[in-house]
């Protein structure tokens, strides 16, 4: 068990190294950032001075070494444009993104697990068809578009909810529901097929023959076992939700790191972009790690492999 966790930790670290290397290399393929930071009329000397001050005149490998060293201290550099530490900027926006992602995960779990179990138990009835059709549509829906449809219905026509921004509970509803929809379809279908898998197992028949109530059979023997693969996928999906949040944040003007990242890209503010990508991949790697460990506790066979 502990060797398994240790191995996964090493793997996670290597992944992180790859991400940071790739980000750094690509950041340096991006034209000359100096051009954007100095006015058109600046002289050659002024440009060189800025370049020196930001360390952009040193060899690329040296820059990468410094970059990694700083990273180890939690120093992500300074924003070119906002005159602020990148770590402050990014960590300042992180709570908004996490809030959105977690609330939407919660919404999708609360809806899809009961729904998946329900349609599995009602297999081959109109309920099953309806539930599965809704799940399929949810999966095929471009979620930024769904967000706009919700805006048209609930903000423009009904005037129930605000169009954008963050602060009040009402402002959280539309973005969180929009983001949740993509996973609802996926989880419902997954839950349904896992539940169907489990319902056909021998131990279900054993439980039934022992005279357990239908409720005990479904909940204790069925759901508990069917949830194992779902837990893994929920964890893996968290990364997708985070990615989805980047676009949803643009639709609803939600002040999270996605919006920060996209805006910084348009302004070519590399340190900020690097910070956003690195931090979100850390969150992603960590959440996968947690899920794997949780999975090996739920199903001890895994860590033996």
């Amino acid at each position: 068990m502990s060797t398994y966790v240790f191995r996964r930790l090493i793997q996670g670290f290597l992944t992180f190294l790859g991400v940071s290397g790739l980000v750094f290399v690509m950041g340096h393929l991006t034209g000359d950032p100096i051009r954007l930071m100095v006015p058109e009329t600046a002289t050659r000397e002024q440009r060189e001075e800025v370049r020196k001050r930001l360390g952009l005149d040193r060899p690329v490998l040296v820059q990468y070494g410094i970059f990694l060293g700083n990273l180890a201290h939690g120093d992500l550099g300074r924003s070119y444009l906002q005159r602020q530490e990148v770590s402050d900027l990014v960590f300042g926006r992180m709570p908004a993104t996490l809030e959105l992602a977690l609330v939407s995960m919660l919404i999708s779990i609360v809806i899809s697990i009961p729904l998946g179990v329900f349609v599995a138990l009602k297999r081959n009835t109109p309920w099953d068809l309806l539930g599965s059709a809704l799940a399929l549509i949810g999966q095929a829906m471009p979620n930024f578009w769904f967000g706009m449809v919700l805006i048209v219905i609930f903000s423009v026509e009904l005037k129930w909810l605000p169009i954008s921004g963050r602060g009040t509970f009402a402002q959280l509803v539309l973005p969180a529901v929009t983001l949740a929809m993509a996973s609802v379809g996926y989880f419902t279908r997954l839950m349904r097929s896992c539940m169907l898998d489990v319902l056909g197992q021998d131990y279900m028949r054993t439980a039934r023959s022992k005279g357990a109530t239908e409720r005990t059979i479904v909940m204790r023997h069925g759901l508990k076992n069917a949830l194992i693969p779902v837990v893994t996928m929920v964890g893996m999906q968290f990364g997708n939700v985070l990615t989805g949040a980047f676009i949803i944040e643009m639709v609803f003007a939600w002040p999270g790191i996605g919006r920060l990242g996209v805006n910084s890209l348009f302004e070519r503010d590399f340190p900020v972009i690097q910070g956003v990508i690195i931090l979100s991949s850390v969150v992603f790697v960590l959440s996968n790690l947690l899920v794997d460990i949780l999975y090996s506790i739920l199903d001890p066979r895994i860590s033996l492999e």
Partner: protein, 301 residues
Amino acid sequence: MESTSSSNIALLRERRLPRFLKALFSSPAGMVGALIMLTVVLVAILAPQLSPYDADKLAMRSRLKPPSFQALNPGEAPHFFGTDSMGRDLFSRVLFGARISLLLGLTASLLGAVFGVTLGMLSGYYGGRVDSIVSWLINVQMAFPFTLLAIFIIAIFGGGFVKLITVLAWATWVNYARIMRGQVIAIKDSDYVHAAYAMGARPTRVMFLHILPNAVSPLTVVATFTFASVILQEAALSFLGLGVDIRIPTWGSMISDGRSYLQTAWWIATLPGIALLITALGANLVGDWLRDYFDPRLSVQ
């Protein structure tokens, strides 16, 4: 001997298509998916013949007209989907949008397949260090928030058709590589692979003539789902203003365009989105059905 076995194979091949169609006709969901995809392909091909208006023609006097079955002026076709902020006929633009979505979806998922299948094949076949490196690449790629990666690449190298396809293909190779790797590991110890070695076949021959054909079914399923996700990704990138040239009508850029008019002209963003939704739904339905068809254990449930 030679001739009988080859005619038997020919017979099997002949029966394969009718069996395939029969299975398709007996599945309502599969049929719906196939019909949707067929319609989208036809619309893409016949877009110039089907569209009532020139999709690019500006008409400032008829901007932001709501969808209607009645013509604005006598002798003209009605604007079924209304008009956009430049007075262009939205229905015609949605029809033309099918072309871009199909083209991007097909090329990007094929390109991703070539790359992903090769890497997955090498990784599963050779194992050891090759496998560690490929698995590491897969992990690194999967730890990236794709949207941000794509925006990043496009911001660096600029937009445009070819670059967009490259970015989208880059996003998909992992799907193929993972499936391919698993397939190779499962297949490489089977009797017919050993038989091929015994007859003196080289690794490349074994990989591409003996292993690959036996992994085609799961790869086809992956390709179908990948196609659906690519067209959604393309729309998302176009929405952020990072897609193909803004003058080319794509569903994503139309949705993006409509964002500024959500309060006054809901149809501009809504209707292209429905076209996108239906297409992705069709591809997913076909993918589901193919998966059940290739792996009958699943459909027994």
